[in-house]
Each structure stands twice: as structure tokens, then as C-alpha cells.
Amino acid sequence: MLRYATLRFLSLTLSLIVASVVIFAVIEVIPGDPAAFMLGMNASPDTVAALRADLGLEGSVPARYLAWVGGMLTGDFGTSYTYRVPVADLVAERLKVSLPLAAYALALSTLIAMPVGILAAARRGRATDYGIMGATQLGIAVPNFWFAMLLVLVFAINLPWFSAGGFPGWEAGLWPGLKALTLPAIALALPQASILARVLRSALIETLEQDYIRTARAKGLSRGQALRGHALRNALIPVLTILGLQFSFLLAGAIIIENVFFLPGLGRLIFQGITQRDLVVVESVTMLLVFAVIAVTFLVDLAYAAADPRLRRRR
């Protein structure tokens, strides 16, 4: 187990290092002079030079890369050119919205998908199954941002249950905060729940056809007992993989959904960064997003090993 975890950790750390090189290269090397790029065509050479000094762009490329990585490791993400504040502070502020949103959506998606997927597998080939499969088929096809607009239309404009956007801040209390995140979380969760339910259903159906289910039935377990006691845990192994992959979709989705609801999260920050050519912000936030995906991959790998005893010793 420890060996497996160490190997995965090393491999993912390598991925992280390569990812940082890629991001650094795209943002700081390809444009030539980032300072000139950020200021646009009309900037005077003096301002460009000043900004260059400001951003620490004077050194060689490897030295700058090391300084950037070293800074991030110690929590120094650089200073935003437009906001004139440390990017770390900006990110910390925005994470208070984005992280709860992604977690909220993940929880909703899992809570919806599990019973639905199990029900469909248990009622395989019957009307319930066809109904669920049809509904999830539709759920997958709906773009989350469009679904978000429809939710706003119904639950914020026609029925004044929720606000159409904005975030009161957690200072206003837990409930107003959660309420503001509810429609965005539903919009994010439903398409993902559809995918998850379908994966769970097909994984369950596949495990239900395994020999050990027949063995369990020969021991006297009922269909339901065999499903709960044996099929479910085995089916969770492929479901975990999907759950890990879904995190990156949720993260990307959250960035887009924040735009629909005007939520002050990482997504708004990064799009403002792009429009204002604030490369420091773009660079650091993308690195953070990639780090989050890789960290979740690692957690999923660990969960995988915990769920599957065959992995603990092998590899």
C-alpha cells in the first residue's frame, strides 16, 4: 500500500513539475516579452522596463522559472498587475466561493447518482430503468450553463425563490451563502449526476454477471443482498475513476457557471485576468487548477487502492 502510494505520489509530482514548465513556457516564454505584451502596443519603453523590473523578468528563463516555482511553494504567487495586490490574497478570497461551489455540486451529484444508478441496475430492463436511462441521456446532453439560465428563468425570475446571481459573502451568514450557491450547484451537478448514474448502472450490471454473484446467490443471498453486499463494492472501483475525472469537469464547469451567476470566484478572476492581460493572475490560477486536478487524482488513486485489495500488494 505504502509502496503503491509512494509510486503514485512520485509519478504525479513529476506530472506537476512538467505541467508547471508547460504553463510557464506558454505564459512567459512564448509571448516574447510578457511586460510589453501586458501593456499593449502603445506603452512607452520606460513603462515596459519598469513593469519588467516589477515582475522580476530580468533574469534568465531558468532562473525566473525557479523563482516562480519557489515563490508558489512558499505561498508567494506574485502580485497582480491590475489589482496591485498579492495574487495569493486574491485567490484565497475567490476560493471561498469556488471551493464550496465545487464541493456542493460534487455532493449533490453523488447523492443523486448513487440511488438512481442502483435503482436502474436493480430494475434492469424494466420501465423504471428505461425511464432513468432516458432522463440521464437528456441530462448529459444539457449544457450546464444553459441549464443554469433556465434555472434562473424559473426559480429567480418567475418564482422569486432564489436570486438570479451575486454572492452575499459568508459574512452574511451560512444560509444566505448556501442559498446563493444552490442554483449554481444544481446546474453543475445535474449533468455530472447523469453521467455518474449511468456509469454506476453499467458497472453494477457488469458485476452482477460475475461468477462470485452466482456463488453468493448459491449461499442463499437474495438478489438485493447480493447487489448490496457484493456487487456494489466491486462496482465502486470503476465509479471512483469517473468521480476523479469528474472533478476536473466540475472545476471547469464551476468557472463557467460563475459567469452565469456573477459569482466572485476563481472563474471570474481568471476571465478578468485574460481581458486585462494580467498574465501573473492567469499563470498562477491555471497552475492552481492543474494542481487541484492532480491532487484529486492522487486521492482517487488512494481510494482505489483502499477499495481494491488486489492493488495494495501488487505494482
Binding site: D211, T215, A216, A218, K219, R233, N234, D308
Partner: protein, 520 residues
């Protein structure tokens, strides 16, 4: 104890079983024999009411005084595992891979409410010890993947007998196991019948297995019982033609006229093949596993040489090395004095699996012609494909068909046609008849003997089955753990084995008693 009358089964309207009637008495071993597709497994699943969807049964199966075929699902759940236990063929997949063996055995007790958790674990340990897995050697906390096939089958048995059922159904319980493991499992089952007084319904394709185990047997063919009675009487009388055919095929000896020369054809000299195992520590050297350990032998031109061994003995690795597909760490393999290489038209191969041996997207003509690859397609390729197909008892028009249109036995003939196409001198047969039913196997063995005589072929016959060795080889090598432990003329090795391992192998192989064979 159980009386089945006129059991008839259809699945989605297709008739599977017709008027199957038999009874099993308390404390006896009841054998059900038949080839694949005879309906023997579905008979057992009917009794358990574990049939696939769309199954329709009629008739009666009276167990004590209740009819198993009409019981509610709830009532059947109470019966399964408690009154009737069942084990299956494939021990590698029959256990839940993510649950410990202790929990899986204890579950039988828990699900029937016969014990609390602590007591169930206690009883599970006892039952596992009874089947030969004492907790001090094999802890309850083991997972299935940590056990061998034989050990897993023991766990499956422990699960099935945890509540001391009165009937244990064993569906081909040893077919997937090595012969020495098979003997141990059969002995265990027999011991359980004696000690626990339960009845055993033993389903198998192997006449020799039932001959040594069953008190009474039924023979099934195409969903019907064609013969039944006490084992000795059935074997001695062989009143039904199908039983006679099955019996004759089970130790069929093809007519052979070997023309063995002194000319060394294939020579293996001190061959060593190591595999790297996964590293144990992060930076340590990867440990190696020696699959083939200093093997030396000579196959003479025109000879049929058997190589016999159990799974893991290294015989398949050796076969691939002979074919030039495995690099050697030491030693060499020579064909006509030159190192072997893949793509040599003088040497061809036939594999075990008649289903996985062909690309399903190509027609037979292309499949059979594949060995032409290195020598280039001859101008008379079509004629030679037709000739090869005719040689193996098929027709030239079969060349235009796809492989799924053929039965297992026919596919194996096509595999032989593919091996003949380059007019080779040596054919490696890697378990080439192991997956076939006995009657089909007998026909393929005849074909192989005939082809050898006609074309003066040399055979390297790799198998786990001593019956096959006896039928088709002149000389035999016995392989154990990567080494050749015994070598000699087949007759001599089988009748007077010298190495203890060979003796074990021969002793473990089930056999039909000689006195039952007189009429054959």
C-alpha cells in the same frame, strides 16, 4: 432425498432439457456426465432456481416433501446454502475479490441468521480448517487473489458446507485445476460425504472422475438422460450407443506408424528463460523468476515428443521459446542445426483456444495463409489453401467463410490447416486438444496421427494431460518448476515412472478401473 421427475427446461422458448428424471439418495455420490451443451449444468441450476432470465421449467423436483421448482424466491433463499450448497467450475472468479475469505465463509452463516458475527467467524475458521485451510496457515483475513486456484476452490467448498447442507452440488469442481490438485479436491469432497453424511451431486465431463467417485451416474446428451444406473453397471454394460462412444473416446488410441529417425531435428541446449518480477523496494534490483531452467532435449525427425507439466511448470514459456518468441538468457535452440526464429516456414504451431486463435474479421483463406508472410505468397496459394483444408477434413469452399461459422472442433482443424500451409517439418502443439470435448478430441488426435504418417512430421506436443501423451507421443519429457525431471519412452515413463513427481502425476490422474474396460 431428492427426486426429479420429468424436468423440462426452455430458455426464451428454446428447449434445453427434456424429461429429465433421477433421484439422489442420502449420503451417496451421484454423478452427472455429459459433454458441453448436454444440459448437465442447467439441470443443477434448475434445482437451485438460479436459472438465467427467460427460463421456463416444468416437471417436479421433490426435496424432502417440497417441490423446488414451485418454491417462492424467498423460500429458495432460505434453502440455498442451508439445505443445498453449490460450488462451481472456475475458482479464480467464484470469490468476491474485495472481501476476505473469512468474511465470505461467515456470510453463509450470517445471511441465514444461524450465528452472530463472532460465532460465525469462529465457525468459518473451523470449516476452513476442515477443507484444509487452517487459520494458522491461511488466515481468515486473506483475500482471494492471495490464494492458489486449489485453495480458492477449498474456500468455495467451505462456503457451501458452512451450514452442513444435506445436498452439495459440484459443477465441474476440478476441471480448471491441475491433476494433483484435482485429486486432493476430489478426496476432500469424498471425505465430506463420508464424514458429514451429505449427498454429492457431481457434474463432470470426465468419465474417469465419476468412475472413481460416484455410486450411481446418469449420462446426459442434448438435454436428455440417455443412461443411468450404478456406476459399475453403466460402465460395464455401456448399453446406450452414446455412452459407448463417450467411453471409447475417453482413452482413444489413434493408429500410429511412427518413423522416428536418428536425425536431430530440434535441439534445446541448456535453455534458460528469466522473467523480471515487480520490484519489491523502490530502488532495489527487480527480482527474477526462472520459468525455464537449464533445459536440454533433442527432438528427432519424425518423432512425436510429449512435454507434460502442470500450470506454472514453464511448459508454455518453453513452447514460445521454441517458436522464437522468447529471448533466452542462456543456452540455445536449434532447428536443423540453426537457431530458431519466428516466421520460419519449416516450423508451425497449433494453440489451445479454438476461439481466440483466429482474427474474427478475416476469412478462412486469409487466416490459413498467414504463415506465408515471410516466404511470400506462392503463385498457387489458393490451391494450397484448398489442399490444406482438404487435408484436415474440411472442404475448399470453407475458405470463404468467417471463423464464427465453425464449431470448436472445426476451428482446431482450421488451426491445423494453418500449420500445414507452409509444408512444415515440425509442428508445435500447445495444449492443442485440451479445450475439446472427448469425442471431438478423439477425431482430432486421429487426424494428427494421420498427418504425421502422411507427411513425416515431427511433433512437439505440450500438454497437461497424460491421456493425450499416451495417445500420440513416442517419448515424453516431464517438466516441473522449469526443469525437466524425467525423460524417456512414453510407455516406460507411464508404466514405470522413476522420478517421484512423475509418480505423483500418474497416481493423481483419475482412471477408469481396468476391470471395467474389458469390453472396450
Amino acid at each position: 432425498m431428492i427426486e426429479v421427475t420429468d424436468l423440462t427446461l426452455g430458455i426464451h422458448g428454446t428447449p434445453i432439457l427434456r424429461d429429465v428424471s433421477f433421484d439422489i439418495r442420502p449420503g451417496e455420490v451421484f454423478g452427472v456426465v455429459g459433454e458441453s451443451g448436454s444440459g448437465k449444468s442447467l439441470t443443477a441450476l434448475s434445482l437451485m432456481q438460479l436459472l438465467p432470465e427467460g427460463a421456463q421449467t416444468s416437471g417436479r423436483a421433490i426435496f424432502d416433501d417440497i417441490d423446488l421448482l414451485t418454491q417462492s424466491e424467498r423460500r429458495m433463499c432460505a434453502l440455498r446454502g442451508a439445505e443445498i450448497g453449490m460450488i462451481f467450475q472456475e475458482p479464480m472468479t467464484a470469490l468476491n475479490p474485495v472481501q476476505t475469505i473469512g468474511d465470505q465463509v461467515a456470510e453463509t452463516l450470517l445471511v441465514h441468521g444461524k450465528a452472530g458475527r463472532a460465532e460465525a467467524t469462529q465457525i468459518a475458521a473451523e470449516r476452513l480448517a476442515r477443507v484444509g485451510l487452517p487459520p494458522e496457515k491461511v488466515p481468515l483475513s486473506r483475500y482471494p487473489h492471495e490464494l492458489s486456484g486449489g485453495q480458492r476452490q477449498r474456500v468455495a467448498i467451505a462456503m457451501a458446507i458452512a451450514l452442513r447442507p444435506r445436498l452439495l452440488i459440484a459443477d465441474e469442481p476440478t476441471t480448471a485445476l491441475d491433476v494433483t490438485t484435482q485429486a486432493q479436491i476430489l478426496a476432500l469432497l469424498k471425505g465430506l460425504v463420508t464424514d458429514e453424511g451429505m449427498s454429492l451431486m457431481l457434474i463432470t465431463h470426465d468419465l474417469a472422475v465419476v468412475a472413481g467417485m460416484a455410486d450411481r451416474i446418469v449420462v446426459m446428451q442434448a438435454g436428455q438422460i440417455v443412461e443411468s444406473g450404478p456406476t459399475a453397471r453403466v460402465f460395464q454394460a455401456l448399453s446406450h450407443p452414446y455412452t459407448r462412444q463417450l467411453f471409447a473416446a475417453s482413452d482413444h488410441q489413434p493408429q500410429r506408424q511412427p518413423h522416428v529417425t536418428d536425425d536431430p531435428h530440434l535441439q534445446m541446449q541448456g535453455a534458460v528463460r528469466d522473467y523480471h518480477l515487480p520490484r519489491r523496494s523502490l530502488f532495489g534490483k527487480a527480482p527474477t523468476f526462472r520459468a525455464v531452467n537449464d533445459v536440454t532435449f533433442t527432438l528427432r525427425r519424425g518423432e512425436s515428443l510429449g512435454l507434460v507439466g502442470e500450470s506454472g511448470s514453464g511448459k508454455s514459456t518453453l513452447a514460445r521459446a521454441v517458436l522464437g518468441l522468447e529471448p533466452l538468457q542462456a543456452g540455445r535452440i536449434l532447428l536443423d542445426g540453426a537457431p530458431v526464429r519466428a516466421g520460419d516456414p519449416r516450423m508451425q504451431v497449433v494453440f489451445q483456444d479454438p476461439y481466440g486463435s483466429f482474427n474474427p474479421r478475416h476469412r478462412v483463406a486469409r487466416l490459413v495463409a498467414e504463415p506465408f508472410h515471410t516466404m511470400g505468397h506462392p503463385h498457387d496459394a489458393d490451391a494450397r489453401i484448398a489442399e490444406a483444408l482438404t487435408d484436415v477434413g474440411l472442404t475448399p469452399s470453407d475458405a470463404d467463410k468467417y471463423i464464427h461459422e465453425f464449431s470448436g472442433g472445426q476451428r482446431q482443424r482450421i488451426a491445423i490447416a494453418r500449420a500445414l500451409i507452409t509444408r512444415p517439418e515440425l509442428i508445435v502443439l500447445d495444449e492443442a486438444v485440451s479445450a475439446l470435448d472427448v469425442s471431438v478430441r478423439a477425431n482430432v488426435l486421429d487426424l494428427l496421427a494421420d498427418l504425421q504418417a502422411r507427411y513425416g512430421l515431427s511433433y512437439l506436443f505440450i500438454t497437461h494431460d497424460l491421456q493425450v501423451v499416451r495417445a500420440i507421443t513416442d517419448r515424453v519429457l516431464v517438466m516441473q518448476a522449469g526443469r525437466i525431471v524425467e525423460e524417456g519412452p512414453t510407455e516406460r515413463v507411464l508404466s514405470a515412472p522413476e522420478h517421484p513427481y512423475t509418480r505423483d502425476l500418474i497416481a493423481a490422474a483419475p482412471a477408469i478401473p481396468a476391470e471395467w474396460r474389458n469390453h472396450a
